[in-house]
Structures are given as structure tokens and as C-alpha cells.
């Protein structure tokens, strides 16, 4: 939930009604941008990405990628392999940054009680870390110093008010909490490094400048300092390797500990059970294969899984992209336009990505899902199965699993890029040409929050209409006319609320969706 201030992706509002200590009903409402016509109509389509990347600061990369893909699709332009690999690396750096930031700087505080961490035994915490992954960095001395600081009341995190200290629902053990607080600080350093690596490929701190229609506007010359050279590439690799080590060990461990500690949250917060994820990280200019899998899981009466191998698959075109086009065109102005999957609301995001990968027997997804579930089972001393992923904590577990996969895939993309350049290919961009007449295109991107779609129509080389469909349009969808709740609404029903003045449990479920807009929550007691 980025505090989006004045982002165009304006606020969501959730009303939760509580009866007998649990949520009995919810209503979500909100305004979500779906048209950029007033800003983009009449502009050069090659400039669209510069504007769309301003839609949301947290998702600037995602809106850049989706935009250039939409324009390239409209004019049937394939991009060079180097551009694909570099874009894939940028996508991976952004996803890692986003998953780490979302969990450690936003969601972790819903589960980890700093007052408990302050009472931890640093030696025990260091031992716990060592027994799991060697615990490099989590030394006893460091944890001791951190615990001492927690005891002094110095600022220790983004939530200054300690609003949920001693909340009856805070049950993490002191030692694992101390480790999680230490990892929160490590996470900041990884965020800084990942942002720096993005600037190495993106040309600018803060905003991506090199991803343009036709490819990547970055000169490639392995021996030239001003260009993308080996030195810069090794710096990117170094950051990726560190981030991989962090997400595959600390991140996966921290979410598994939470799963073991709060087993009821591996069942609570399930919500609707249909899912969509599109494939991403294309491996060839024709986009016939992808490094990250896509798929649809529909539970429309019966449970069925449909892999999406490419974006021209019949199933995808008939049931997903056409529905996205419909939702984009809905004349509802800026109201959240709720897309439906085979007539049903559906979830998007890391859980959808992981379930699609499991259903499609995607090896890296199977490996990491199995590792995370086994670790959680060992910590909990009870079997935790894949069903548990469909829950509030399961969405965080999926986030860690996805981050672990993305880190691995990113290093593979790095190798592909370096090998391709070493073969003598330094082309990174093709010049786009805009024919007269009308062209329409879609750009899909499986971002950290789920599928993002941009749709553009171009008339005589100028933007005519421009639409976006955000991941949160799926997850935060309001009730359908037929009465089915949207995913976030449905996931909240049945959540316990121990203290209506401090509705921590509602925050837990809302944060697990990582909504791409600031979200206001209002709790009302019913029939009390």
C-alpha cells in the first residue's frame, strides 16, 4: 500500500462490518484511473511511456514497460534480443525491490512486535539464523547491538506510533522477531542497491529513461566506459547476487516463521479462488517463450487450470485479453472498472503467479514452493501444504517464493545478455515507424502486484485513446452486480477482529494484496 499521496491511482476505501468479533461483511469502493486520454491524445506515441511512468512512483517501471509494449504491439514491432534481456533485467530488479520493500517496510510490522524483539536473546537468535542458512550477517554481536537499541526507544522503523504494540494478535517469538527487525534494516540496504542497479541500466536515479519504443536506448560496448560495458554489467550482477542471497534465505525464512507462528492465517483470508497471471520475461523477439510462466486458474464450479504459454494463445485472447479490453473501455469514467475472469472475480499478484507456475509444472516455481512449504512445515512441526498458500499469509509466502524465482531468472537473463553481446550483437533498438491509418495495441506486464495492461490506439502516428487496467482493478474490485464480492472484500470476511479500535487483522489481509493505491479502512460494529 504505497502512500500514494496524489498519485493518479487514487484512494481505495474499505468498509468492514464486524459482528461477534469477526468481519461479517465488507464493501470496497474507489476510484482508479483507466483513461489517459486528456493527457496523451494527440501526442507522439513514442512519448507515451514518459507520461505513464508518472502514474505511480512505486510502479513507474511497470508502467513504462507496459506502455512501450502496447505501442510496439500496435505497430507490429519486435525488439532486438539485447533490448529484451536488458528490459528483463530491469523488470527483475524492480520486482525484487518492490517485493522486499513491500514486505519489510509495510507488511512485516503487521506481524512483528518490536516490544517482543526487544526481549529477545541475541545468542538464541544468532543460533536460529545459523541453523537455517548459515546466518551470514546475523551475528550475535550485531543482534545484541540491535536489541539494545530497541530497548532505548530510539526510532526503529516506519511505524512511529507503536499502534499495535502488545496487540493480542501479535504472537511472533522474540528471537525470530529480532531477526526480522535486523532483516528490515538489511532490506533497506538491498533496496538502495537495487535502485542503484536500476539507475545503471535505466540511465537515471529515480526514473527510467532508457526503455523506449523499439528497444532500449543504451549504447552497448563492452570496452567503453560511457556505454553499457562489462564493469557496469558486473556491478548489476553483484547487486543481483546479493539480493538473491537475501530473498532466498532471509525473506523465505521470515515468511515461513510467520506461517508457523500464525497457522490460522494460512487458512484465513482466502477469498475468491480464481487467478490470472500473464507470462513475462520474453526470451526471443517473437515472444514464443518466456522465463516466467503465466496461467489461469478458474474455479467456476469446477477447478480448471489453463496455462498461458504465449500472448497469442486462443484461451488468453478469448477470455483474458478481450475481457481486459472490455474493462478498459467501460464507460464508467474513472470508477474502478472491475474485470472478470469467465464471469467471476479473480485474484492477481504473486499468489496467482505461483499457482499458475505450479499448475503449469514450471520447475523453478515447483522447487521454490516446495522449499518454502517444507521449511514452514519443519518450523511448525506440522505439515503445511500448497493449499495454505491461498490465504493472507500465503500471499506473503508467495511473494517470497516469487522473489526467489525472479532473482534466479534475473541471473540467467544476465548470462543471456552477456553471451549475446559477446557474439558481437550490440543492437539494442529498432527505429519505430508509424503507418498512416489506425492501429491498436496492448501491452501486458506481469508486475509485482500482478497483471498490468495498457491499451493504445494510434491514428496517423498520434495517440488517439490510451487506457490502463491496474492490478488493483482485479484485487480491489467492488462487488459485482450479481452480488459476488471482489477478492479483497471476500478475503476479509471471517477475519477475526480482537480490538475494533485497532483492527490489525484487517490491515494484515489488506496489506497481503499490496494494493497499488493508498487505502482507507473504516470499521463499523454491527448489532453490538
Amino acid at each position: 500500500m504505497p502512500l500514494a499521496g496524489t498519485d493518479l491511482e487514487a484512494a481505495l476505501h474499505i468498509d468492514a462490518f464486524v459482528r461477534g468479533g469477526e468481519v461479517c461483511d465488507t464493501r470496497s469502493s474507489g476510484q482508479m484511473i483507466n483513461t489517459l486520454d486528456p493527457i496523451l491524445r494527440g501526442r507522439d506515441p513514442r512519448d507515451a511511456w514518459r507520461f505513464t511512468q508518472r502514474l505511480c512512483g512505486t510502479c513507474a517501471t511497470a508502467h513504462t514497460i507496459a506502455s512501450v509494449r502496447a505501442v510496439e504491439h500496435a505497430i507490429d514491432l519486435s525488439i532486438p534480443p539485447n533490448a529484451q534481456y536488458i528490459r528483463n533485467l530491469i523488470v527483475a530488479l524492480h520486482a525484487l525491490h518492490d517485493h522486499i520493500a513491500h514486505f519489510y517496510q509495510q507488511a512485516a510490522e503487521d506481524w512483528i512486535d518490536r516490544t517482543a524483539a526487544a526481549g529477545a536473546d541475541p545468542a538464541g537468535a544468532a543460533q536460529l539464523a545459523a541453523s537455517w542458512w548459515g546466518g551470514t550477517g546475523d551475528t550475535r554481536a550485531r543482534l545484541q547491538a540491535l536489541r539494545d537499541r530497541l530497548c532505548t526507544g530510539a526510532p526503529t522503523g516506519p511505524r512511529p506510533s507503536h499502534a499495535f504494540d502488545h496487540h493480542p494478535q501479535m504472537r511472533a517469538c522474540p528471537e525470530s522477531s529480532l531477526l526480522a527487525v535486523a532483516h528490515q534494516l538489511d532490506a533497506l540496504e538491498h533496496q538502495r542497491q537495487l535502485a542503484g542497479a536500476m539507475a545503471l541500466l535505466g540511465g537515471h536515479a529515480g526514473t527510467l529513461q532508457t526503455v523506449v519504443v523499439g528497444g532500449v536506448s543504451l549504447p552497448i560496448d563492452l570496452d567503453s566506459h560511457g556505454a553499457l560495458d562489462m564493469e557496469r554489467l558486473y556491478r548489476v550482477r553483484d547487486v543481483l547476487e546479493r539480493a538473491q542471497d537475501f530473498v532466498q534465505h532471509a525473506f523465505v525464512f521470515d515468511v515461513c516463521v510467520l506461517g508457523a507462528r500464525y497457522p490460522e492465517w494460512l487458512a484465513l483470508g482466502r477469498g475468491v479462488r480464481s487467478y490470472v497471471a500473464v507470462p513475462d520475461m520474453p526470451l526471443d523477439p517473437a515472444e514464443s517463450s518466456f522465463d516466467l510462466p503465466g496461467g489461469v486458474i478458474a474455479r467456476n464450479g469446477v477447478s480448471e487450470a489453463f496455462p498461458i504459454a504465449t500472448l497469442s494463445d486462443d484461451f488468453f485472447v478469448q477470455h483474458v485479453s478481450s475481457e481486459i479490453a472490455r474493462a478498459m473501455d467501460r464507460k464508467s469514467g474513472v470508477r474502478t472498472s472491475a474485470p472478470r475472469l469467465l464471469g467471476q472475480p479473480a485474484q492477481v499478484g504473486p499468489l496467482a503467479q505461483v499457482l499458475a507456475g505450479v499448475a503449469g509444472r514450471h520447475k523453478p516455481t515447483l522447487t521454490w514452493t516446495d522449499r518454502a512449504l517444507s521449511a514452514a512445515s519443519v518450523i511448525a512441526s506440522a505439515p503445511i501444504t500448497a493449499d495454505a498458500l491461498e490465504s493472507t499469509l500465503g500471499r506473503h509466502m508467495s511473494r517470497a517464493i516469487r522473489a526467489a524465482i525472479v532473482a534466479e531468472r534475473a541471473l540467467r537473463q544476465w548470462n543471456l545478455l552477456v553471451n549475446n553481446i559477446a557474439r558481437g550483437d550490440t543492437v539494442a533498438r529498432f527505429e519505430p515507424a508509424f503507418p498512416a491509418g489506425e492501429r491498436r495495441g496492448f501491452g501486458f506486464h506481469e508486475g509485482p502486484r500482478g497483471v498490468l495492461a495498457h491499451g493504445v490506439s494510434i491514428r496517423n502516428a498520434r495517440v488517439d485513446t490510451y487506457r490502463v487496467l491496474l492490478p488493483s482493478a482485479w484485487n480491489a474490485a467492488p462487488r459485482a452486480p450479481g452480488g459476488e464480492r471482489g477478492p479483497c472484500e471476500a478475503a476479509l470476511v471471517g477475519n477475526p477482529v480482537a480490538d475494533v479500535r485497532r483492527p490489525l487483522e484487517i490491515l494484515r489481509t489488506v496489506h497481503s494484496f499490496d494494493a497499488c493505491a493508498a487505502c482507507a479502512i473504516q470499521v463499523a460494529l454491527e448489532g453490538a
Partner: protein
């Protein structure tokens, strides 16, 4: 000493683009000394922390909600920002700024010196131009940035010939910068 000047705000939301606008004009008129970096940071939300983590001093340009006329400038120090209970609104993006400052200080890092220069907006709605009142506040805001830099012991040099500010969002059309010489071979179109 690392000094960072951050323009915060959304250039697609008219007056909310004040921060980025000021940064672009500043860069056009001044040469910043080594160690001073001006960044159009947009609306980073929780992603503000990487910008703060390794800075000794930060000057933030933003819009603020405060009593006064549109175009009026208000300034705030670190303690003002941290002392703000979240219900009262200071800077429009202040919840993010305050959380980010607390987060980096938890890591034992971040700026010890913070100055927020905020303007009261006239309108915030979809659009790419500043209102007249807020545009008139750009030059005074730059004056405040320069004063603040001098207080921090650095002196930005005015360019003998100012550049054209790169406020691309207001312009009719934007072009992709041409690649550097010998950058790449042009492929098929």
C-alpha cells in the same frame, strides 16, 4: 558531504508537479557543486527511502496543505516533519516523508539536516501545467534552495547562459534523446 535536492509530486496533476518543476528549472539555471544532486523523484511513496539513506542533508520541494493563499511558500525543518502527528497534514506527501525519515534513522543512516520547501497549490487535478500563482512561486523556491545550500556550506554557480528547463511534460511533444555516437547499428524498422 552528500546533499540531495528532491522534487516530489506528480507532473500529471497540475500544481502537484511543483517539486519536479522546481528541480528542472534549478538545473537549468545553476551548476550544482560536486556532492549536490538534484532529483525529480516524482511520487515515490515508500520508495523514498533509497534517496535518503546515504544523504547527509536533504532539501525537499513539494506542495503543502497549510493555511494561506495559493502560491505561498512554507518551510519546515526535520523536527517539524517528524513532530507532525499523521492526522494533521503538512506536506502533501508528508506521511511518506515522515515514515521514510523514521525508517532510515532506524538504520542509523539518513540525513541529519532536512528542509522542506512547500508551496500551497491552487488546483490539483489531471493536467500538465502549473497555475499562475504556483508558477510565480518557482523563482522564490529556487532562491530558498540556494540560501539553504549556502547555509550548508556549498555555493551553486549560476550558469552564464541558462539552459532551457527540461519540463518535458508541459511541452507539445517530447523526443527520445538520440543515442550517443557509435551507439548501435540501426536495425530493420
Amino acid at each position: 558531504m552528500d546533499i540531495r535536492i528532491l522534487g516530489l509530486g506528480n507532473v500529471l496533476m497540475s500544481d502537484d508537479g511543483f517539486g519536479p518543476y522546481v528541480v528542472r528549472v534549478l538545473e537549468a539555471f545553476y551548476e550544482l557543486p560536486p556532492g549536490v544532486q538534484a532529483i525529480d523523484a516524482g511520487t515515490p511513496g515508500i520508495d523514498l527511502t533509497p534517496f535518503l539513506l546515504d544523504a547527509h542533508a536533504v532539501i525537499i520541494i513539494d506542495t503543502v496543505k497549510a493555511e494561506g493563499m495559493s502560491g505561498d511558500i512554507r518551510t519546515y525543518d526535520r523536527d517539524d516533519i517528524l513532530g507532525h502527528p499523521s492526522q494533521q497534514r503538512g506536506a502533501r506527501h508528508d506521511a511518506g516523508l515522515r515514515d521514510a525519515l523514521l525508517t532510515v534513522s532506524a538504520a542509523g543512516a539518513g540525513p541529519s539536516h532536512v528542509k522542506l520547501i512547500g508551496v500551497i497549490p491552487e488546483w490539483i487535478a489531471t493536467g500538465v501545467t502549473l497555475s499562475r500563482d504556483v508558477r510565480a512561486a518557482v523563482a522564490p523556491a529556487i532562491g530558498l534552495i540556494v540560501t539553504e545550500l549556502e547555509r550548508l556550506g556549498v555555493r551553486p554557480k549560476m550558469r552564464p547562459v541558462p539552459r532551457r528547463p527540461d519540463t518535458w511534460w508541459e511541452q507539445e511533444t517530447v523526443t527520445v534523446p538520440p543515442p550517443k555516437p557509435s551507439a548501435f547499428v540501426r536495425g530493420k524498422s
